[in-house]
């Protein structure tokens, strides 16, 4: 039994079957990649996991608890953290403030009226946030406005915001989409670093196969909304079915 269990999930958009009978099990401590060509339904699947979409049928459980019908912030409070395809940060706030907010969310829950206390007196959380920035090499930029960061640093900051909550499952949606090769390699290094340091459970959604082979312990190939195969990375590479799904695409 994995920490995340998806079974029999279907999702239709009008006449389009975006997800058809998807089954997936992510084992605790592993890095599970979900790959597939554009339009395969990867983002749709991820949106069903984080509460943005509700599947037409099927179940999604996290640690034995159903996530269906829960709000995104409730799902985050269960221990699932999501990194977006294009970095989503608090652009008007400083890097440190960006990192502090998830700390408050983790400690105080979805809402707490702490209107008189001073942030400056939250020594524990400040240390936690600064430690995280230190770990990801961003401590020098703590007082910068997040909007003024480079794209790579925004990704790094978003990662810090997720990791500082110590999530039990980290979901990444195409973390290298639209990146140049150098940035892609940086991101891969960052993810490897995170994986080694924290032994965190990750589900990574990717289009680029190069990225997943260097990271994942297990791969599910999605095509037209249905899982094609699920196997170890080395077995996926040579699989003729995968070749077919990616037909005409150069990566394989």
């Amino acid at each position: 039994m994995g920490i995340l269990e998806v079974s029999g999930v279907n999702k239709r958009f009008g006449g389009l079957q975006a997800l058809g009978d998807v089954n997936l099990s992510v084992a605790e401590g592993s890095c599970h990649a979900i790959i597939g060509p554009n339009g395969a339904g990867k983002s749709t699947l991820l949106n069903c996991l984080v509460g943005k979409l509700i599947p037409d049928s099927g179940t999604v459980t996290f640690d034995g608890q159903s996530v269906l019908g829960k709000k995104p912030f409730e799902i985050n409070q269960m221990g699932i953290s999501r990194v977006f395809q294009t970095p989503e940060i608090f652009g008007d706030l400083t890097v440190l403030e960006n990192t502090l907010i998830p700390c408050f969310a983790k400690r105080d829950g979805v809402f707490r009226m702490h209107a008189i206390e001073s942030i400056a007196h939250e020594a524990d959380l400040l240390a936690q946030a600064e430690g995280m920035l230190e770990e990801l090499g961003m401590i020098d930029k703590r007082n910068m406005h997040a909007a003024s960061l480079s794209r790579g640093d925004k990704r790094r900051l978003e990662m810090a915001m997720s990791l500082v909550q110590n999530p039990r499952l980290l979901l990444l949606d195409e973390p290298t989409a639209g990146m140049a090769r150098a940035d892609t390699n940086n991101t891969i290094d960052l993810l490897k670093q995170i994986k080694e340091m924290r032994n965190i459970t990750m589900a990574i959604i990717e289009h680029d196969m190069h990225v997943v082979f260097s990271l994942s312990d297990r791969i599910t190939v999605l095509a037209q909304g249905t899982p094609l195969v699920e196997d170890l990375p080395e077995n996926i590479k040579g699989n003729p079915k995968v070749r077919e799904a990616y037909l005409g695409e150069a990566q394989v």
């Binding site: 999501r82 977006f84 940060i89 008007d92 706030l93 008189i116 206390e117 942030i119």
Partner: protein
């Protein structure tokens, strides 16, 4: 000290000093001089400046921090006023219970309106708040007339029960609002040669309340709650996926700003126990938006400056008429004098709104951060000039880490 950092403490002390010395600072011209009409140091106007300052400080907690633009906050001001008068009718002329009730009732109503309006954001939110406020305005003239006094407004009378006070004074008059035995309208005039300064209970009472209101706003700005409000403005989607529910945060900000408005409304009737529905008209709601933007939305001191500037213009420019301007330009040749008066005519007296509009357009176009940004730019210019002149001294680079919302 007081749980504030150095910069905030300095700002707070500046505000207190401004409040304490306002009767002198705002009366710089001798009574007999022609400039005396620009003096603003009389109790009526100073009370207005302070009360609208409180209104704007509260509005800024909602608009400046969360970005939610309410067009209906005058409703809470009006509700605060009506509640205040009712407390003085039913209970006592002591203004403290009146103010507490004003805040509580305005808070309760804003909880209701906020709960519904915050289901939407952006322009739809603004329209909803506007609709609610106009509804209250219309109701005040129609079905709610028994509570609001309709067109004639709500005022005190010698028939009021006033359980903990007298119905009428010994002379048969309506009693006046007091605070712990002191008459609100009590004033002393101090003469210094050609200058005279008026010290009044009402103004200083309002000033103390404003100092407290400002202090509370600073604390809110620097609190985790304040940080969450800025997060709402910056990226609600991110907030959701960070495990935070933006809705209660925004609602809390809405209610707090509604309570500030109620406090301002209560203070108005503490100074002059008469409440009318025109206080809730949409133009009054728009005015507090102008004040906040003019001063600098999201800054601590901006709303106070914006409120001060607008109420000053309203009171002073509207009293200048053509004959006053003729007086100024009398030494000039007649043709020039007449031309100047003709040019100025649309901007003065009843035309003061045109002046306000022009000031607003200029500020929004050239200083989107309001008066506060203007002040900062001036400060920087000044500093640069000085450091160009002097030899650069290490350590005086004054790179004070910029505080959010300073």
């Amino acid at each position: 000290m007081l749980g504030l950092n150095k910069a905030d403490l300095r700002l707070f002390l500046i505000v207190i000093a401004m409040l304490v010395f306002a009767p002198i600072l705002l009366n710089p011209f001798p009574d007999t001089s022609g400039m005396a009409q620009f003096n603003a140091g009389y109790p009526d106007l100073m009370q207005k400046l302070v009360i609208f300052g409180i209104f704007a400080i509260g509005f800024n907690i909602l608009f400046g921090l969360t970005g939610y633009l309410s067009f209906g906050h005058a409703a809470f001001l009006g509700i605060g006023s009506y509640t205040g008068v009712w407390m003085m009718k039913l209970l006592t002329m002591n203004v403290i219970p009146a103010l507490i009730a004003s805040v509580v009732v305005a808070g309760a109503v804003s909880l209701l309106i906020g709960y519904v309006s915050l289901r939407r954001s952006g322009i739809y939110f603004s329209i909803l708040t506007l609709a609610f406020a106009q509804m209250f305005y219309s109701l005040a003239y129609s079905v709610l007339t028994p509570i609001t006094g309709g067109e004639s407004g709500l005022s005190l009378s010698t028939d009021d029960p006033r359980i903990f006070g007298v119905q009428a004074t010994d002379g048969g008059n309506i009693p006046v609002p007091t605070v712990f035995g002191l008459d609100m309208s009590h004033a002393v005039t101090l003469d210094f040669g050609a200058w005279s300064f008026t010290i009044s209970t009402g103004y200083y009472f309002a000033a103390i309340i404003m100092a407290l209101a400002f202090y509370l706003a600073v604390r809110i700005f620097r609190s985790p709650f304040g940080l969450m409000l800025r997060a709402v403005k910056s990226n609600q989607n991110r907030m959701n996926y960070t495990g935070l529910n933006p809705r209660p945060y925004t609602l809390a900000a809405f209610v707090i700003s509604g309570m500030y408005a109620g406090l301002a409304g209560g203070l108005m009737v503490a100074m002059d126990p008469l409440a009318g529905a025109e206080r809730m008209l949409w133009t009054a709601s728009g005015e507090v938006v102008l004040m906040t933007i003019l001063g600098g939305a999201g800054t601590l001191i901006g709303p106070i400056l914006g409120a001060g500037l607008i109420k000053y213009l309203e009171s002073i420019v509207s009293t200048i008429n053509d004959s006053v301007v003729h007086g100024w330009f009398a030494p000039l040749p007649d043709w020039l004098e007449n031309t100047l008066v003709t040019v100025l005519h649309p901007f003065i007296g009843k035309g003061w709104h045109l002046t306000l509009g022009l000031v607003f357009v200029l500020v929004v176009c050239f200083l989107p951060g309001g008066i506060v940004e203007g002040g900062k730019k001036l400060g920087n210019l000044f500093r640069r000039k000085r450091s160009n002149g002097d030899a650069p001294t290490p350590g005086t680079g004054s790179t004070t880490a910029e505080q959010p919302g300073e």
